[in-house]
C-alpha cells in the first residue's frame, strides 16, 4: 500500500537501516554534472521518465483541449511569473476527487506562456502500484513525488515541476472546506527547491473545488476497494469509474504569483535550516490562501466567473 510520503526533503535519505553497510564505498558527492545527462534520442517518442509525446499529444488535442477551452474555460493571470528557462517548482492548491487542476495548469503553461514548456506533475506513489494508472500516468508527464526525482528534474534537467504540498489531504477534503488550504506537510517542497536552487512559483487555482465537489468520504468502502479514498461526488460512485471524469462545468481561474528566488534565501547551504524552510512554506501557503480569498471575492458566479 502506498506510504504517505509528504517530505520531498532529502533525495538521498537512507530509508531502511537494516540494509545499512559500511559507508566507505559510498560516494560523498552528488553525481557529476548535467553535461553527462543522456542526450535526447530523436528516434524515441518516450523520454527517460516514460513521458510519451504520442499519448500526451493525443490527450492534449482531445480531452485537455475540450476541458481547457470549452468546459472549464480557463482564464490565466500572471503567466509571466513562470520563468522561461531554468528549473522551477510550481506550488498549487489542490482539489477534486480526481483532480483536474494538474492537467489544466500544465495546459495553461503550454497555451499561454511565450515559451511553452512541459510541466512534470508530481503524483503519489500509490499510482505506480495501480494497474492502468501505472501505465498511463508516466506517459502524460506524471512523476512519483520522490525527493530524488524532484531534484533531478529541477536541478539536473531544469524542468518545470508542479507540486501540491497539501497532497492527499487536499483532494480528500469535503466541499464544506473548499478553498481552505490544508497543512503544507513538512515543507519538503521548499527544501527540494532550495537544494536544487530552483525558483518557487506559487499559484492559486479557483474552480476545481466546484468541478468535482466531494460530499463525503466512505472509509469502509475505501478499505474494501483498496483505493486511496472513496469519495461521494455528484457522479461517483453512481456512474461507476466513469463518474470520476464527469466534472461540473465550473469556471477555472489560475493566477501565477510572483516567484521566490531560493538562491536569495541562501540556496543549497540553507536547505537544512528547518526554521527557514518552515517559514518559507508558511509564507507561500499564506500567499496562496490570500489570492484565493481575493479571487473568490471577485468571482460573481461559480459557472461564469
Amino acid at each position: 500500500m502506498a506510504r504517505d510520503r509528504t517530505s520531498l526533503a532529502d533525495p538521498e535519505a537512507p530509508v531502511d537501516e537494516q540494509t545499512a553497510e559500511p559507508a566507505s564505498l559510498l560516494p560523498a558527492a552528488r553525481p557529476p554534472g548535467r553535461e553527462l545527462l543522456p542526450p535526447v534520442e530523436h528516434e524515441r517518442t518516450l523520454n527517460d521518465w516514460g513521458r510519451s509525446e504520442r499519448v500526451e499529444g493525443f490527450m492534449d488535442a482531445t480531452l485537455y483541449e475540450f476541458f481547457y477551452r470549452y468546459w472549464f474555460r480557463v482564464e490565466v493571470e500572471g503567466i509571466e511569473n513562470v520563468p522561461a528557462d531554468g528549473g522551477a517548482l510550481l506550488v498549487s492548491n489542490h482539489a477534486g476527487a480526481l483532480p483536474p487542476d494538474a492537467a489544466m495548469i500544465a495546459k495553461a503553461v503550454h497555451e499561454e506562456h511565450p515559451r511553452p514548456r512541459d510541466v512534470y506533475l508530481t503524483v503519489e506513489h500509490f499510482f505506480k502500484g495501480y494497474p492502468g494508472f501505472s501505465m498511463l500516468i508516466p506517459k502524460i508527464g506524471g512523476v512519483a513525488a520522490h525527493p530524488a526525482n524532484v531534484h533531478r528534474l529541477l536541478y539536473d534537467e531544469e524542468q518545470l515541476v508542479l507540486v501540491f504540498p497539501e497532497g492527499r489531504k487536499g483532494t480528500e477534503k469535503l466541499y464544506k472546506d473548499r478553498y481552505r488550504l490544508r497543512r503544507f506537510g513538512r515543507g519538503g517542497f521548499v527544501e527540494a527547491a532550495m537544494r536544487a536552487e530552483a525558483k518557487l512559483v506559487p499559484l492559486a487555482l479557483v474552480g476545481a473545488e466546484e468541478a468535482m465537489p466531494v460530499f463525503a468520504q466512505v472509509e469502509p468502502l475505501r478499505r474494501l476497494t483498496g483505493l486511496i479514498y472513496f469519495p461521494i461526488t455528484p457522479t461517483f460512485p453512481w456512474l461507476g469509474p466513469l463518474g470520476m471524469l464527469a466534472y461540473l462545468p465550473a469556471k477555472f481561474k489560475i493566477r501565477f504569483l510572483e516567484p521566490i528566488d531560493t538562491v536569495a534565501l541562501g540556496g543549497r547551504e540553507a536547505a537544512n535550516d528547518r526554521a527557514l524552510v518552515q517559514t518559507v512554506a508558511q509564507e507561500i501557503r499564506a500567499r496562496i490562501q490570500e489570492s484565493l480569498h481575493d479571487m473568490l471575492g471577485k468571482r460573481k458566479s461559480v459557472w461564469f466567473g
Partner: protein, 360 residues
C-alpha cells in the same frame, strides 16, 4: 606499469570475455583465471586454475602469482539458471572467500573489482526513477537472490573499509542484452510474444554485453574507487522495447498474485525468476553519470542495445550452428602453451593482428 591480474569466475561469461579482452594488452603481464569448472571460451595466454572457493588455496595463488588486480565476475543474477542454494554458495560464501584471500597485510592486491548488479536496488512502488550509487535499498530484499547480492556487496564494502590501501570498485550492471549473454531478459525477449503484467508498463534500462566487458576493462586500467552504476543511456518503457524488437506484447500476467501464479507456470515449464516479478511491474532506472565521469563512454544506448538484440534474434535462427562451441581440454591447452614444438613467435604475432585492443 605491468599488471598481474586474477579473474575469479573465468568460466562465467564475463570472466571469459574479460580475459579475452585483456590478453590483447601488452602491459598485462599475467592473467590467472580461477573457477570450479572448465572455461567455455578459448583463451590464448590466460592460465586456468581449477579451484573451489577455498580461501586458503585462493590466498596461496594470489600471493604466489603476486597478483595486483583481482576481478570478481562470479556473481549470478538469475534465480532460474542457478538454484538458490548454489547461488547463495557462489554469491555470498564465494565472495567472502575471495575477499578473505585478498585480505591481510602481506597481500599483494592493490585493486579489487567486483561485478555486481542493479538488482541490489530492488524494484518497489516507491522507488526513485533513477537510483544513485549513494542510495541504499529502500526496502528489505524480497527474494533470496537480492538478499545475497546485498550480502556480497556488504562483504566487499567491509573489505574496502578495512583495507584503505586497496582500490575497491563495485560495478552495478543493469539488465544486460546481447547475442551471447544469457540473462532473464534475453530469454524473455526471445519468446514469440513477450509477456507483460496487465496494466503496467515498467521503465527498464539495459546495457549491451560489450559495454559491460569494456566497463570491466576500463576499471582495470583506470582509477575507479567506489561504486558505479553500469547502464546505458536511456530508460525504455517495456512496450517501447518490445516494439523495437519487432515483437508483440502479451499482457498475460495478472497485476496481483503473479507470485502465486509463478508456481503453476513453473511446472508448465514457463519460469519467471522471482526477482523479475516486481521488475515487470515497477521497473528500475539508474543514474549512469558517475561512471561516465571517470572517462568511460558507452558504445550503445539502451535503445541501440535492444534494437541490436532484436536484429540478432531475427538473424540467429539462420546462423545457428555455424560457430562451433569451445570445449576446454587440459592436455591440448597444456600442449599449446608449454610444448617446445609449438611455434610461439608466429602465434603471438597472429594474436596481435586479430586482437585489436578493445576501446577504452
Amino acid at each position: 606499469m605491468t599488471r598481474r591480474i586474477l579473474i575469479a569466475g573465468i568460466s562465467t561469461y564475463w570472466g571469459g570475455r574479460l580475459a579475452q579482452a585483456l590478453e590483447g594488452f601488452e602491459e598485462v603481464e599475467a592473467i590467472i583465471g580461477i573457477d570450479s569448472v572448465e572455461p567455455r571460451r578459448e583463451l590464448e595466454r590466460t592460465e586456468f586454475v581449477k579451484v573451489t572457493n577455498q580461501h586458503s588455496l585462493l590466498s596461496r595463488i594470489v600471493r604466489a602469482a603476486e597478483i595486483d588486480t583481482v576481478v570478481d565476475s562470479r556473481l549470478t543474477v538469475n534465480s532460474v539458471t542457478d538454484r538458490p542454494r548454489s547461488a547463495h554458495d557462489n554469491n555470498v560464501i564465494g565472495t567472502m572467500n575471495i575477499v578473505t584471500a585478498c585480505a591481510g597485510s602481506d597481500s599483494p592486491v592493490r585493486k579489487f573489482i567486483f561485478k555486481s548488479s542493479t538488482h541490489y536496488y530492488g524494484s518497489e512502488q516507491d522507488d526513485p526513477a533513477f537510483f544513485l550509487e549513494a542510495m541504499r535499498r529502500p526496502h528489505t530484499p524480497r527474494t533470496p537472490l537480492e538478499r545475497d547480492i546485498g550480502e556480497a556487496e556488504g562483504a566487499v564494502a567491509e573489505f574496502a573499509e578495512k583495507h584503505p590501501g586497496v582500490e575497491v570498485t563495485v560495478l552495478r550492471c543493469a539488465n544486460v542484452l546481447g547475442p551471447d549473454v544469457d540473462t532473464a531478459f534475453t530469454r524473455m525477449f526471445a519468446l514469440p510474444v513477450v509477456p507483460m503484467v496487465l496494466g503496467f508498463d515498467p521503465r527498464l534500462q539495459f546495457v549491451h554485453e560489450d559495454d559491460v566487458v569494456y566497463a570491466l576493462e576500463h576499471c582495470v586500467f583506470h582509477e575507479t574507487p567506489g561504486i558505479y552504476n553500469v547502464a546505458a543511456d536511456g530508460v525504455l518503457a517495456l512496450s517501447e522495447a518490445i516494439s523495437l524488437l519487432g515483437k508483440r506484447p502479451a499482457p498475460v500476467l495478472p497485476p496481483w498474485g503473479a507470485g502465486l501464479l509463478a508456481g503453476p507456470l513453473r511446472n508448465l515449464g514457463f519460469r519467471i525468476p522471482s526477482e523479475m516479478l516486481n521488475l515487470l511491474r515497477f521497473g528500475r532506472g539508474v543514474d549512469n553519470r558517475r561512471f561516465q565521469a571517470t572517462g568511460f563512454r558507452y558504445s550503445h544506448t539502451s535503445r541501440e542495445a535492444v534494437a541490436k538484440f532484436g536484429h540478432h534474434l531475427r538473424v540467429d535462427p539462420v546462423m545457428r550452428g555455424v560457430d562451433e562451441g569451445f570445449t576446454y581440454e587440459r592436455e591440448v591447452e597444456e600442449f599449446l602453451r608449454w610444448s617446445p614444438h609449438v611455434r610461439r613467435e608466429r602465434r603471438s604475432e597472429g594474436v596481435e593482428a586479430d586482437h585489436e585492443p578493445l576501446g577504452i
